[in-house]
């Protein structure tokens, strides 16, 4: 069985700046990294392979040429090879257009028993691409997977996080899983892995290589029309302890009670 891992290169979270005028992300000089939540998908794939249940793991990403680095990272961790979907025609894609592109590429790349993805990307935060890809491929999507219970040649049993608890479900292969942080602890890249990544095969697929309609900005039914930067306003009232300890505490409690902390009250003996 072959495994595919869908990954994305994202801006490193602590280096993102939003231009407040235009509402767009300032990408100039911003460091990129492999989406941190995708590390869990790569690790899950690695463990399936190491358990002898898969012969290869292919990392797939859509992005500009420099997204090759994200593939190299995935390979340095544990993947065997990578596929980069890169074409000016893919640019500006929303989640549906992205899913169409990836699904078309997967069809072109042949059969995968399990397709793994992170829960969501830390830049878009939608989590829509993995289930959309499954829908377009006509295979089951199991989201929020926190543990792979059993994997056979025909089916997979997983535990997934749902509101208020977990449910255990089984699906036939091929299947797509999006995994949560609970599933494992991703490994660090090793020097040997980095050297392997340098030699590993990374194929680039262009729009003409895959059969996909409705890709890129032109194929995206949604548009970002405005981005608002949340303004956090906090006010502070400082109450200093003076010699009248009880009075100070009562003042603080009154302040809390007057400001939606309706349960605030003085209990016990103040001294």
């Amino acid at each position: 069985m072959r495994i595919a891992v869908l990954i994305k290169q994202v801006p490193a979270v602590d280096s993102v700046r939003i231009d407040e005028e235009t509402g767009t992300m300032e990408r100039e000089g911003v460091e990129s990294e492999l989406n941190p939540l995708d590390l869990y998908a790569v690790e899950a794939a690695a463990r399936i392979k190491e358990a002898g249940k898969a012969e290869s793991v292919t990392a797939i990403t859509m992005g500009p040429p420099q997204a090759r680095r994200a593939l190299s990272h995935a390979i340095a961790m544990a993947c065997d090879d990578g596929v980069l979907l890169s074409d000016a025609k893919f640019a500006g894609a929303d989640t549906l257009a992205t899913a169409r592109t990836i699904a078309a590429a997967i069809k072109r790349l042949g059969k995968f028993g399990v397709i793994l993805a992170g829960e969501r990307a830390t830049d878009g935060e939608t989590g829509q691409v993995p289930p959309s890809v499954a829908e377009l491929l006509g295979i089951p999507a199991l989201t929020y997977v926190s543990r792979i219970v059993e994997l056979t040649e025909e089916s997979i049993t997983v535990r997934r996080a749902v509101d208020g608890g977990y449910e255990t479900v089984r699906a036939p292969l091929p299947v797509l899983l999006s995994v949560t942080k609970e599933i494992n602890k991703p490994r660090l890249s090793t020097l040997a892995g980095k050297l392997r990544a340098k030699r590993a095969r990374i194929d680039v697929l262009r729009a003409s290589d895959i059969e996909a309609d409705g890709v890129g900005l032109a194929g995206s039914p949604t548009r970002v029309v405005k981005v608002m930067y949340p303004k956090v306003t906090r006010t502070c009232r400082k109450i200093s302890m003076n010699d009248d300890h009880e009075g100070t505490v009562r003042e603080a409690v009154k302040f809390l009670a007057d400001n939606s902390f309706s349960d605030a009250r003085v209990e016990g003996v103040l001294s």
């Binding site: 460091e31 990294e33 941190p36 890249s189 020097l191 040997a192 892995g193 980095k194």
Partner: protein
């Protein structure tokens, strides 16, 4: 210190003297509450070393400090200057009581000057706050003590703090360009400036660095800023034994790669920190020693070549695996463990002694490692060993034997360190690389220096502080 002996050497703070102190620094900056005195009576060396004192002062400016020193001189009151209290040798502990001068209110970054590559700061600025402010202007404050999130610049200067980037940028002394100092008698000196060359008289400013507030009180500092490094990468090499780690260090240092950091953690250090952080380093169950190495290069290609070379050296010398941080998350995961060894040790053993800080020439590191192991056996002590190994600076961190009282341990641990210090000195090293002498290593200092050198020590002290009121009991004997 017995009360009688104290009052013999120094003046007493009577209600009248207290009023003079309040007049000098403003009453709102003077604290005599039991709780205040208690929490400023010790530092990170340990509560067991706490010393009572009389008045806590948190001045707002140099003028107040000058007025305070005039009053202190008049009444011969000891004044111990204190930074964040993150010191590991008890330098901020007021051995002879009197006044503790906390610089926490003087915490403004006054200027980041890109043209002169200089920062002008008050002594109460937290190291990391300065690093951030400098980085926002594309510059680097290169001081990097492991307490960077906590320690004050004033304390960094007072101890000549080292840390994790000394191999690349040098210790705090290399970053100090100038300072304002209030003397024991209350005079204000302007030393150095926004320049990097100075053969204009005795280098008095240099004497203020690493002398633990015994010669003057730093009220402002002008610090050197560096250009931000180019690309950096962090490597974590896991070794099956100490020997292969030690030989790797020599190879790494002479590899030609630009090394920013080269830190060592032994098995116990990694375990204590990882447990405290609820994490785990890779290969932890089979690793006896880790090296955490940070490299710098101008381009991704050069960086790749550098880590391949340095990582390759580690593998060749016996590393089981070399891990490469791919992201800031990975890097933080590695450095967090390195930064939290002391915290991890204290979580496991509240009496863990963190003051161990010996230095030897790099070539003697293999020998001192063996000596530490042998001394641990002889003294029946367990140490978590870590440190800035490429600087030859090791921190054997001693855990209290279960059956020993904390009081006995406070003495015993320092006797143990004193024994290690003797060995380090024999190998051409010193007893402290960055923590300082403080109150815990004074006897070891006296034991390792010649009478001639100690005589000059006393002479320097007398020239700056004839009454001996600045942090008495540190670096020189109280006359």
């Amino acid at each position: 210190m017995k009360e009688a002996e104290k009052s013999n050497k120094f003046g007493v703070i009577t209600p009248e003297v207290l009023n003079e102190i309040k007049d000098a620094v403003s009453a709102k900056n003077v604290y005599t509450d039991e709780a205040d005195i208690e929490s400023y009576s010790y530092d990170y060396t340990g509560k067991i070393f706490a010393q009572r004192f009389d008045v806590l002062v948190k001045p707002g400016n140099a003028g107040q400090i000058s007025a305070l020193m005039k009053a202190a001189t008049k009444h011969r009151i000891p004044v111990t200057t204190r930074g964040a209290g993150s010191g590991l040798a008890g330098a901020a502990i007021p051995i002879y009581g009197g006044i503790v001068l906390s610089m926490e209110k003087m915490n403004r970054i006054l200027e980041i000057d890109p043209v002169n590559r200089a920062a002008v700061v008050e002594p109460g600025v937290v190291t990391n706050d300065l690093c951030r402010a400098a980085a926002a202007k594309g510059l680097l404050y290169a001081g990097y003590p492991m307490s960077t999130e906590l320690s004050f610049i004033g304390g960094n200067i007072g101890t000549n703090a080292g840390g994790g980037k000394v191999i690349r940028y040098g210790n705090t002394r290399r970053h100090v360009l100038g300072m304002d100092v209030v003397t024991a008698s209350g005079d204000l000196l302007h030393l150095g400036g926004k320049y990097r060359k100075d053969t204009w008289g005795y280098p008095i400013m240099q004497l203020m660095i690493g002398t633990e507030g015994t010669l003057g009180i730093i009220t402002k500092a002008i610090l050197n800023l560096e250009p931000l490094p180019g690309k950096t990468v962090n490597l974590l090499a896991a070794f099956p034994d100490l020997d292969s780690m030690v030989v790797s260090v020599a190879g790494v240092v002479k590899s030609g790669a630009k090394i920013i950091s080269c830190e060592f953690l032994d098995r116990l250090s990694a375990e204590l920190a990882a447990k405290y952080l609820s994490t785990e380093l890779p290969y932890q169950e089979k690793t006896e020693a880790y090296l955490l190495i940070q490299l710098e290069a101008d381009s991704d290609e050069q960086l790749e070549a550098a880590y391949e070379k340095v990582g390759g050296i580690c593998v060749e010398m016996g590393a089981m695996e070399v891990f490469i941080a791919e992201s800031r998350t990975d890097s933080n995961a590695m450095w967090q463990v390195r930064q939290n060894i002391a915290e991890g040790a204290r979580a496991e053993d509240p009496h863990a002694s963190i003051s161990g800080d010996i230095v030897v020439p790099l070539s003697e590191v293999p020998r001192i490692m063996k000596i530490i192991a042998a001394k641990c056996k002889a003294w029946n002590v367990v140490t978590a060993n870590h440190g800035h190994i490429a600087d030859g600076n090791l921190h054997p961190l001693a855990l209290k034997p279960k059956d020993m009282t904390p009081e006995r341990w406070a003495v015993y641990s320092e006797e143990f360190y004193a024994d290690l210090i003797q060995e380090a000195v024999k190998l051409g090293g010193v007893g402290s690389g960055e923590h300082g002498v403080g109150c815990v290593k004074l006897d070891a200092l006296f034991a390792s220096k010649s009478p001639a050198e100690l005589g000059i020590h006393s002479g320097v002290k007398a020239a700056f502080d004839p009454l001996g009121i600045l942090n008495p009991g540190k670096l020189t004997a109280v006359k």
